[in-house]
């Protein structure tokens, strides 16, 4: 295999790349996905308890509630609007504070506290909102609690935001679009347009064409995944470990890309392969979004072993040693994938030779 010829083919692909929609899609992907996740899904996936307040008399309760971390607070102007939003599950609960509520409470007149709960709200959210509201009301009443609460935090893990939990999905999409789609579509397109057969008439070998497609996909995958992480402010503090994890992940993506590209006889078949098998490859990402689900299921899927090290590095600053076992398994899977890649290359060679 000639490195010179391989690099020439790769450079040619790079030069004509912008003509391909998949190549262009890979380039713009980091910006698009970051926008979509941050703007649309950042709020859609919001899991915090949601409280709405209608304050008819500038109560201190409203001011204190609005400052609470971890509760999604909405100030509304009418009771009917509040009830509508609570009933529609836009809010978990709603509080109505009538004019003079604070004064009446402090003078012992026991005003009515209207607190509405959405029928579709989770029981845990109901407890959080009810107890927190009660505590704030007591605080405004001015009566000191007959107890002192001391909070002790055990362990050092941090709660992960939904956007952090969506990171594996963004990274895997980046790796697939660049590492899997670019080589696979490139190969199939060349096969369909017969340019591959034409190239193979020259001294260029099929292995060199495959290596060139793989190299381009690999470089793009590492770059696009890195830029996606960069735009989402998720590079972590272990650059060497991250680079190694991205390299292994890009390698696995490219191998799947070569398998797809050599199996598919045309674009339609390739698309069918993608639509069918990608659910198997993408499955682990859903277990990051829902951490309460049985996590062992994610380990069944090969991509888990490249995703998890990246996730640990960027979210928990895990060292290379800490993610070593996962990466070793991923490298093992990459090693095993070479077998079908070589077998399919031989099959492709035979098909092209027959014409």
């Amino acid at each position: 295999m000639s490195i010179f010829r391989t690099s020439r083919i790769m450079l040619k692909d790079l030069r004509i790349g912008p003509r391909s929609p998949i190549f262009l899609w890979a380039l713009i992907y980091p910006v698009i996905i970051t926008l979509v996740m941050q703007v649309v899904f950042g709020s859609l996936f919001e899991p915090k308890p949601r409280l709405g307040i209608v304050d008819q008399g500038r109560s201190e309760i409203t001011a204190l509630m609005s400052q609470l971390e971890g509760i999604d607070f909405t100030l509304l102007h009418s009771v009917s609007q509040l009830k509508q939003r609570v009933e529609g599950n836009d809010l978990d609960a709603g509080l109505v504070l009538k004019y003079g509520f604070d004064t009446a409470m402090r003078s012992g007149r026991k005003p009515l506290l209207e607190f509405y709960i959405g029928g579709q709200s989770l029981a845990s959210n109901r407890i959080i909102l009810a107890v927190t509201t009660l505590d704030i009301v007591r605080q405004v009443e001015g009566k000191a609690p007959p107890v002192e609460v001391e909070i002790n935090t055990l362990g050092d893990a941090e709660a992960l935001s939904i956007l952090t939990r969506l990171l594996p999905m963004m990274i895997l999409f980046a790796l697939f679009i660049a590492g899997l789609f670019v080589p696979a579509f490139g190969l199939v397109e060349e096969r369909e347009k017969k340019t591959l057969a034409a190239v193979l008439v020259t001294p260029v070998k099929l292995s060199e064409v495959l290596a060139a497609k793989a190299a381009l996909g690999f470089i793009l995958a590492v770059l696009i995944a890195y830029v996606t992480l960069l735009l989402n402010g998720a590079l972590g503090s272990q650059p060497a470990a991250l680079l190694i994890a991205l390299v292994v992940a890009a390698l696995m993506s490219v191998e799947f890309g070569l398998i797809y590209g050599t199996v598919a006889k045309d674009i339609k078949t390739l698309f069918t392969l993608i639509k069918t098998l990608n659910i198997f490859l993408l499955a682990p990402v859903i277990f990051y979004i829902f951490p309460n689900w049985p996590q062992w299921i994610a380990k069944i899927f090969p991509t888990y072993w490249v995703l998890n090290p990246i996730f640990e590095i960027v979210t928990k600053n895990a060292s290379l040693v800490a993610v070593g076992l996962d990466l070793a398994i991923a490298i093992g899977i990459c090693g095993l994938l070479i077998i079908p890649v070589l077998a399919l290359k031989r099959r492709m060679q035979a098909i092209i030779s027959v014409g």
Partner: protein, 369 residues
């Protein structure tokens, strides 16, 4: 009459030809089936229940009566696990010992808590919180401790509470929430429908590129026959796969006819989209890109249905909103024809717009060849 029979026969022949093209590609058939198996497999692997309780470990002495209500409130979102010693409670929260259910918060009442509180003296209660527990939960548990102390020391609530029956708005689903898995059913069907859009679009695109449409039009077949055949085939393909999926994820339920009607209307819509994208694309790849644009837009209501709250007004404008809402209503909440009619009407309006546009675009394309 004979003319009508002749037209039906021609349309049937075109459908047969297209279907043969599909079936001839065995890999396509095999992988489509495999795709269905994967979707169904993933569905059944997902948890079938909703965990809406906060589990709290408590170590206390002499507070049985005061905490009785809290201990018995498991169905209301709080599960209490009692511990005999502070060390075991702390170890459980730190995850150092095995417990039946993960304990993320522990409340350690000192032995003199009751006596001190009754004497209006301040006792110190330690709340152990596992790192990673959201702030709102740990704060709520601290508030709970303060409220218990208020209760023991005889402090009345400083306000009047409304009638309990008026407090919960809407159907109370506590303890009976729809699992995420069930909410995913309409989305899975929707994905199958959308993917079939690509299949029909690619068939149309390849026919246009290969100009087989022109060849067909040399025969007694008219443009209208070709269009009718494509509509029927596209609708049937999308409809059949969706029904198989619905059966496999046990989603047909009691409203079989209603669900089938929704899927049929949805299949008509995707057939229309396939005609638009298939006629517009120059090759499979550009058809795919056009299809993706539609898919990104249309999948938003399906995603929004997975999460709480009413959809934003702009989501309600999207053509797929009616499909998703009707599917969610019929397959999850058991809504019948009466409640689904507005959505069915909305889908029908969108169907006529999209399918009409699709037929028009395809007709113009076929005539221009």
């Amino acid at each position: 009459m004979n003319a009508l029979i002749s037209r039906i026969a021609i349309v049937g022949s075109i459908i047969k030809k297209d279907l043969t093209e599909f079936v001839r590609d065995r890999l396509w058939i095999l992988l489509s089936a495999l795709g269905l198996v994967f979707y169904v497999g993933i569905f059944w692997l997902l948890p079938s229940t909703v965990d809406e309780t906060i589990t709290v470990g408590i170590r206390q002495t002499g507070l049985d009566i005061a905490l009785q209500e809290m201990i018995e409130a498991e169905d209301e979102g709080l599960k209490v696990v009692l511990f005999e010693s502070s060390e075991r409670l702390k170890a459980a929260v730190a995850g150092e010992i095995e417990t039946q259910k993960e304990i993320q918060i522990g409340i350690d009442f000192p032995d003199d808590f009751l006596s001190k509180t009754l004497r209006q003296e301040k006792a110190i209660v330690r709340v152990y919180v596992a790192s990673g527990v959201p702030k709102e939960i740990s704060r709520a548990m601290s508030s709970l401790v303060r409220e218990i102390a208020h209760m023991i020391s005889g402090d009345d609530l400083p306000f009047t509470e409304p009638d309990e029956q008026t407090v919960v708005l809407g159907e109370d689903r506590m303890g009976n929430h729809v699992p995420f898995r069930d909410k995913m059913r309409p989305m899975l069907v929707f994905f199958i429908l959308m993917v079939e859009t690509f299949a029909l679009a690619s068939l149309i695109a390849s026919e246009i590129q290969a100009k087989t449409v022109t060849a067909v039009l040399v025969t007694p077949a008219r443009t209208g026959d070709v269009l009718a055949a494509k509509t029927i085939l596209g609708t049937l393909l999308a409809f059949a796969q969706s029904v198989v999926l619905l059966l496999a994820v046990a989603a047909l339920g009691e409203n079989v006819l209603l669900v089938l009607c929704i899927v049929l209307l949805a299949a008509l819509m995707v057939a229309g989209i396939a005609m638009i994208t298939g006629s517009s694309g120059k090759d499979f790849l550009s058809t795919l890109i056009y299809g993706m644009i539609f898919m990104v837009l249309l999948v938003i209501p399906a995603f929004a249905a997975l999460f709480p709250g009413m959809a934003s007004p702009w989501v309600k404008i999207l053509p797929s909103y009616g499909i998703v809402e009707a599917m969610v209503g019929a397959t999850i909440y058991g809504k019948g024809w009466g409640e689904s009619t507005p959505y069915l009407a909305l889908i029908a309006v969108w169907d006529s717009i999209i399918l009409g546009s699709g037929l028009l675009v395809l007709k113009k394309k076929a005539e221009a060849l």
